[in-house]
Symmetry: C2
Subunit: 153 residues, 2 copies
DNA sequence: CTTGAAAAAACGCGAGC
DNA sequence: GCTCGCGTTTTTTCAAG
């Protein structure tokens, strides 16, 4: 059902590096005609391998210069779904994961400045199921990139 | 130079939610003609506010089901640029940040499975400037989304 | 400086093979 | 998976606010 061959990988690579390239351009890069590329892309979208296309925005330019990673410790045992439901309404939460180790979850926060970050942290800490948080403020973004096309997979 | 008004924000929102939408579609959403939208998008690309367009890929589908966050502690004082240069060659590193607190950096790793993750961690620890690492393995992805259009910015 | 309208050129998308 | 053809879109040029 979700078979992804070498050509699909190359098509995905093209789209990751430029989501607005035309089917003809992709076809030229992978050695297929434009309609053939479109059919594969449609299939990849159907099967969920491709989840969509988005613009990469400079966070600084829109006033999202400050970010932090927050270890979240919950009260007692909480289901992942419950944590997700509680984090979803907070707009500063750009990512969240349940993790191994002492913490229950890691939350990635993005805010416009330190003050906004503080506000977001207060709101996060006021969430019922959350007991305690440990914040790590990001000083500089060193690297941020899509996963490599593939490798030893 | 990098003035971004309300219409630009709405155009960016459209492109973030679907990078492949046509200029006519965007124009209809923001109340501009297609050429006017294109000019603004070109300008946003020129000024670096928009950095490009990419496909959102399901990590599972390409064999990137396992990820981890790693606190990196360096030997002595190391410049951010040096850390970046040392991390860039490692394909499993999808993001890295210098941070406040005890650690020097947080590295986001993505691997195909636990074994691959272990290999990647070994390679990471073998980097000269790195003294010690503390790994946190991700159990489940709760949330992952682009920053909200904007807010109290 | 920005917009809207109209031109040619390129692209998307279905049918047929 | 490829070719063909029609309708739509993009993109450039031009004139106006």
């Amino acid at each position: 059902m979700l078979r992804v061959d070498t050509i699909d990988h190359r098509i995905i690579s093209c789209l990751v590096s430029n989501a607005r390239s035309s089917y003809a351009e992709i076809g030229a890069a992978v050695g297929l005609s434009a309609p053939a590329v479109k059919r594969r892309v449609d299939r990849l979208l159907d099967t969920g391998v491709l989840q969509g296309f988005t613009a990469v925005v400079d966070p600084e330019a829109l006033g999202w210069g400050t970010e932090a990673f927050v270890e979240v410790h919950c009260r007692g045992n909480v289901a992942p779904g419950e944590i997700k439901a509680n984090l979803e309404p907070l707009p500063e939460v750009v990512a969240a994961y349940t993790v191994s180790g002492a913490a229950d979850a890691i939350v990635h926060l993005r805010a416009s400045d330190i003050h906004h970050l503080e506000t977001a942290l207060e709101r996060l800490r006021s969430v019922e199921i959350i007991d305690r948080t440990v914040s790590t403020v990001v000083l500089s973004r060193l690297l941020e990139r899509p996963p490599a096309p593939d490798q030893q997979a």
